[in-house]
Symmetry: C2
Subunit: 518 residues, 2 copies
């Protein structure tokens, strides 16, 4: 069996059956082998950052890796920003990168570059296949590495000649490490802290932000009075539907510090101690209140859900725990007909008919808080937030989530600035008829940077202000979207937005709404 | 003086007065300082690959660096593919990358990454500023490093707090290394080879592909009978206008090998021994004919133009050298009204009214040869070819060339596939009213990969073929272009294309023509 077919068969045998690709010459044999391996689904993206972001979104939903197939060092380069986000999300991804032939590697060809160096910026596991016979074993090892708790981007670099050489049979399923069991001593120590009755906060990350973790944390809160917080940069957060809602740490450090103020003990569950997004003049980077002790209930590679359950058991469920774990579903926020279209109005409108069990990929940057607070009253949905802070993840993550969960509506909440990093995502959405509604809040400005400029002590004179200005020319998202085959409309009033949103969620996507906001 | 202002003043004192930027929070102080340092021109790009490609195009035209300003590791990541191309073009570029504050670097923030590791993939010179007082000196050193022959991408990483700290006065002009003088012994040795009268070929690269080098090489050919070739991947090539035309080495190795066949001696001038773009089964990577001796007249960091002049002097100009250095200007190619719109027809049409002294940024991929051969009969122009092979350089390079040479018409020759990597370039063209005509040959397919699939021994079954297919949906370049503020039309016949092209070159740009080709 040729190397290319061996690689694809090893991937599918190891549970990797989806590949987001932007191939070139060195990867043609893998593309050719798709006709021999129908179990591998392949999706073409027109820019590599769409591939890496889509694999991230896919992994966040299914907790198993997709593959990406990229072309040599610079192709991988274009994927790095979203691999960075995947790395911070602890998303398992198998990144396959084509390399020149072993003979061609010895000459200085135009596309020669140190692919391992590119890969190491985002991957702990980087391996270049040394001979064709290793292909199966190396591919299985890459999948196992990607899945090693808490999940990572594993890179496999494949010289082109190995793909057309004889490589032997594909490798079978490689053994995988499980998430670490809770440390019972640690659980008892933290339980005794909690029972002592001081001010204790739990900060949830990783898998504890999903259904079972949230539910158990809610029961703990009800039984013991602990305060429960959600890490801002978790990969996926179960929201809405009247579920218990931990307080998601705010973006700005003053607000985050004030949320955590007064805690004597901060207990980390599958996350690290909270830090601010950026450093600012005269402000600490760490958000843990001074004098507060930090404890780890479960490390990021641990099973935090089990640890929470053990803690609840240890503390005793107490009366009413079950009741307080859910809260009454709020009534949908009011709309004022004819009101100006603001992020607040967009949030209110979205909340009124957010489809049940939607997946919301959010990259609103400056408008996020104003929009998301209204969604608390919405039916249950999964939120896929910014993890690594590299802008341009929202649309690709929506692609990957829609591929992973074909039965669920995906909503991509974007800004006009953030959408311009990976707009090519729209083409893949159209090509694959993905059920995505994209809402672009167009304020014609890098508005977050107006705020950050002031916070870092800068002043925006006319020339500086011009660098944050997205008018001249205005981006026309209806044309951009239609240019890539996605139906689109523009809303400039709340009434228009309500009508377009109501209609968009009723039909299969993709569909884009440009909401021109004040 | 604050660090940010010190940096900008040092850059301008060292001749760097243009900055292509996509800033974030860590770079706000630099943006703010633009109002204090009006000598620095700043241009906003909506994606980092536009910044890096624009700096490459700028450097290719002016032989001096522009700066780029990018945001942390992932922002730099998005710029790497075009920095790779700049590296292979030996373009001097000063890449400024913001870093977290020194305090914030100690915590694991979402955007924390090893920026130096990102930078080293494309830069030999990588320095992180260690204290605010070093900013001026480090910035001057980065400019000097960028300009060190043959030119490179020099990276300066600046922790955000240094930009708002006191940094002292800016540094003055740093001393720069010049291009190495010709080695007289080497010149005499090569002259004696040439005089001996065997089959000798000169392969030109670097600065020898511009006016004076081409002219001197033409005189050498006339005086001595040497054959003159142009490296395929030089940064810039003076063409047309009846000038002497060295034979540009073809893309496919068979054609390149056949062009070089029979040479006893291959003399390299500012370039390395030629190699094929990719390795293929059963083909050598090196294109030097077997048994041919390779000599270096000038290394890539040498002054090849002076070396050629010294060689000419040594060989004796001989009678007729001056005459044979130019050739009669050919007549423009014929057009057949009503003919199908093919790459050949596009080339013929472009040649009929290519503006005088145009700059042609070419990234046509599969259609390049068919179009460019007709331009030999056109008035003089500079060709900016693919250098590093990372697709997505053509539009950004056109941005940079237009900024560098405001009096000259820039023509970007693109394919529909290649344009989708950095389409955001169009917005910066519109914003800066750059005089660019973009011609997109839309064949709705990654056609080069059909050829490469076959060459690498793969076969394209239905699933493989689908991965090279850009229909479903078709990209609408008129809408995409208008969506970013650039006027656009579509041509589907030769007559339409002729009319649109004739009109486009008469008016200031930007202007896009989508040529739907068979």
């Amino acid at each position: 069996m040729k190397g290319a077919e061996c690689l694809l068969r090893t991937l599918t045998a190891n549970g990797v059956d989806t590949c987001f690709m932007n191939p070139g010459t060195s990867e043609m044999q893998f593309v050719s082998a798709l006709d021999q391996v129908p179990a591998m689904r392949s999706l073409l993206c027109l820019f590599e950052g769409v591939c890496s972001g889509a694999a991230d979104g896919y992994a966040r939903m299914l907790r198993r890796p997709a593959a990406t197939l990229l072309h040599l060092g610079p192709g991988l380069g274009n994927g790095l920003a979203n691999f960075h986000n995947a790395r911070k999300a602890h998303s398992p991804v198998v990144s396959i990168v084509g390399q020149h032939t072993t003979q061609h590697l010895r000459v200085d060809a135009p596309l020669s570059a140190d692919i391992e160096a590119f890969a190491r910026t985002v991957s702990e596991h980087v391996r270049t296949v040394a001979c064709a016979a290793d292909l199966g074993g190396d591919a299985a090892a890459a999948v196992a590495a990607a899945c090693a708790p808490p999940g990572q981007v594993a890179t496999l670099i494949v010289p082109a000649d190995f793909s057309w050489s004889e490589a032997g049979p594909p490798a079978g399923l490689a053994p995988r490490a499980g998430f670490a069991e809770p440390d019972r001593c640690r659980v008892r120590e933290i339980a005794s802290l909690v029972r002592r009755g001081g001010s204790v906060g739990l900060l949830l990350g990783g898998s504890t932000l999903l259904d079972r973790g949230i539910e158990t944390a809610g029961q703990l809160a009800a039984a013991t009075g602990v305060r429960v917080f959600a890490s801002r940069y978790g990969a996926r957060l179960a929201c809405g539907g009247g579920r218990f809602a931990p307080l998601r740490l705010p973006y700005f450090p003053e607000a985050a510090a004030s949320a955590l103020a007064g805690l004597e003990h901060l207990v980390l569950v599958e996350c690290k101690a909270p830090v601010s997004f950026f450093g600012y003049p005269g402000r600490p980077s760490v958000l843990v209140p001074e004098g507060s002790a930090v404890h780890t209930l479960a490390p990021i590679e641990g099973d935090g859900v089990q640890a929470l359950a053990a803690l609840l058991e240890e503390c005793g469920r107490g009366p009413g725990a079950q009741d307080h774990a859910t809260r009454p579903k709020g009534s949908p926020p009011e709309l004022t007909p004819g009101a100006e279209l603001t992020p607040d109005a967009v949030g209110r409108t979205l909340a009124r008919c957010l489809p049940h069990d939607a997946i919301v990929s959010e990259e609103l940057v400056s408008s996020g808080a104003a929009v998301l607070r209204h969604l608390e009253a919405a039916p249950r949905f999964d939120l896929l937030p910014v993890t690594g802070g590299s802008i341009g993840q929202g649309l690709p993550v929506a692609v990957g989530a829609a591929v992973a969960c074909p039965g669920r509506k995906v909503i991509a909440l974007e800004a006009d600035g953030s959408s311009m990093y990976t707009p090519q995502s729209l083409w893949t959405m159209a090509r694959e008829r993905l059920d995505v509604v994209i809402v672009i809040l167009a304020n014609r400005r890098y508005r977050i940077l107006d705020i950050e400029m002031e916070r870092t002590g800068g002043s925006a004179g006319p020339r500086a202000s011009e660098m944050l200005d997205l008018r001249h020319p205005e981006l026309d998202w209806v044309k951009l979207s239609e240019g890539m085959g996605v139906e689109a409309t523009r809303a400039t009033t709340t009434d228009e937005f309500l009508a377009q949103w109501t209609e968009a969620v009723k039909r299969p996507g993709p569909r884009l709404i440009e909401a021109v906001t004040a």
